[in-house]
């Protein structure tokens, strides 16, 4: 079954064409799709379009075979779409636990109820505890986000995107700013927790990208210039040309 299909999506900001007829399809059986490309290639813009933060200038986006191109932003996660942000976007004054609670609560039909206190919804707290346990943050659950290290915040950021068990999750540079060992830990978490989820990830770190990927899509100046297995991408002359001199492949 088709999880995500991008159909000739274009996005212009005035005269600047940031996305140029981007097309690809990802089925639910695919688990690790990594999007790479130099800065300015349009990767985050693509994610923004999929999430609904901006409207494509033309083209269509299909989620679970449904055309979501014009769907309201807040309805898309309910179709099974999750996202994490490149720049950590949490609620800094809330505790770690409260952040994850909010991520979970979004999909519960009691999220508009006004009379029973949140703390009485035991199963919500259990699920939160389980999720925090997966990333070893359970002892820190009552700390405000501000008190965490960058690496820990990245883990919470990850949890926010996956807490509601999406069928497909967009990870935007989840390892940005992490040390080498922290990113290995993160990759491990992704492998473990997201085994059955279709992960579409933007990555700059080539090591992680080639380590995790089943399929790699290469974006350059808003266009897909390569799309296939990691070994094919590595050998692709267009890709080498784009990256030679600006970043090192291995």
């Amino acid at each position: 079954m088709e999880a995500l299909r991008i159909d000739r999506v274009c996005k212009n900001f005035g005269a600047l064409r940031v996305l140029n007829r981007v097309s690809f399809a990802i089925s639910t059986s695919e688990k690790r799709v990594i999007i790479i490309g130099p800065n300015g290639a349009g990767k985050t813009t693509l994610f923004n379009a999929i999430m609904g933060e901006l409207q494509p200038s033309s083209g269509h986006i299909y989620l679970m075979s449904k055309d979501i191109t014009k769907m309201a932003r807040h309805r898309r996660p309910h179709l099974g779409l999750g996202r994490t942000f490149q720049i950590i976007d949490l609620l800094p004054d809330f505790t770690v636990q409260e952040n994850v609670l909010l991520a979970l609560q979004a999909h519960r039909n009691f999220r508009y109820r006004m009379f029973k206190p949140v703390r009485r919804y035991k199963d919500l707290y259990e699920k939160t505890g389980w999720l925090l346990g997966q990333v070893n943050l359970e002892e820190k659950k009552d700390l405000p986000i501000r008190a965490l290290s960058n690496g820990e915040m990245r883990l919470v950021e990850l949890l926010m995107g996956i807490a509601a068990e999406p069928k497909i999750v967009l990870l935007d540079e989840p390892a940005a700013g992490l040390t080498s060992s922290e990113s290995e830990w993160l990759a491990d978490v992704i492998k473990r927790v997201l085994k059955e989820v279709t992960v579409v990830m933007i990555e700059h770190d080539m090591k992680i990208a080639f380590m995790l990927a089943e399929r790699i899509i290469v974006l350059y100046q808003g266009m897909v210039i390569a799309d296939g297995k990691p070994s094919d991408i590595r050998a692709n002359p267009k890709v080498r040309e784009v990256y030679l001199g600006s970043e090192s492949t291995d």
Partner: protein, 322 residues
Amino acid sequence: MSDLRSKILFYLGLAVFMVLCIPLLPRYVLTLTTSILIYSIYVSSVNLLTGYGGLISLGQGMFWGTSAYLVAVLTTLNILKNFYLTTLLTLLSIIVLSACFGALAVRVKRLYFMILTFAFGHIMWCIAMYPIQSITHGFDGIRGIVRPDLGLPWSLENDLTFYYFVLIVGGICFYLIYRIIKSPYGLAMIGVRDNEHRMLALGYNTFLYKLICYVLSAVIAGIGGILFAYFNLYVNPSELHWLWSGDALMMTFIGGIGTFWGPVLGALVYTGLRYWVSAYTMYWFGIEGIIFILVVLFFRGGVVGFLDQLKRRLTDGGAAHR
């Protein structure tokens, strides 16, 4: 355990003070306390909208004033004398009004929201000022409201009984607000205040959350307005003037925005200061402005924040507050 115990003792002491002690003091203290309680209901509506909802409105007075006027018109023109029906009709009107205005206002940037709410409030004030076939009497306002008959053995004509009535209604309002803040809706609303962008990405319909907050806050302000009409027995357009909406914001900040006790303390301090200052000078608004500037610059948490700091300095440590 001692934390719970001290809480219970505090509320017990407060209840005793409010129920037994106040009535024993001179009568003007009773009526003053009644008015402070009514104002604090108004302020708590602004606190809900601005403190917990993050929406700064310069037009909350619109709901206070409109409901006061509705009560005045309905009762003095003998259209509806039954207290319950009048209250029901008034609150229903407030819900409709706030839903309509809110649906437009919460869609826009926070700055625009502020100006829009000012505009709405100003529109209502203009309508009240212009005598509509002598219903609203324009600048003179409407006199001759009488205390309502609740159908109970105690008459509200008596200041003391009315005080208890306001105390009960106020208590219910504050308790309801407390429940709302602690509920799933409340948590999400505060989330929308702090990071709407993320909440949208999580799947929350932030527009609906803000709209609900706006309507809830309008209803609470409306309850305050109803009580005010029955208390004051006279309403005039100043209840709809934007200065009154501004005053509500001031009271909220002076008390401590986004806190539970802020509204009551803010109303208390404001009313006390206003009475005291007005005895010496007519330049109350200027003084109010100065006080407010001082609060914003130096006492950001308001009275509650100040007391919190004091408590923290007297006892070591203290948990982080939202």
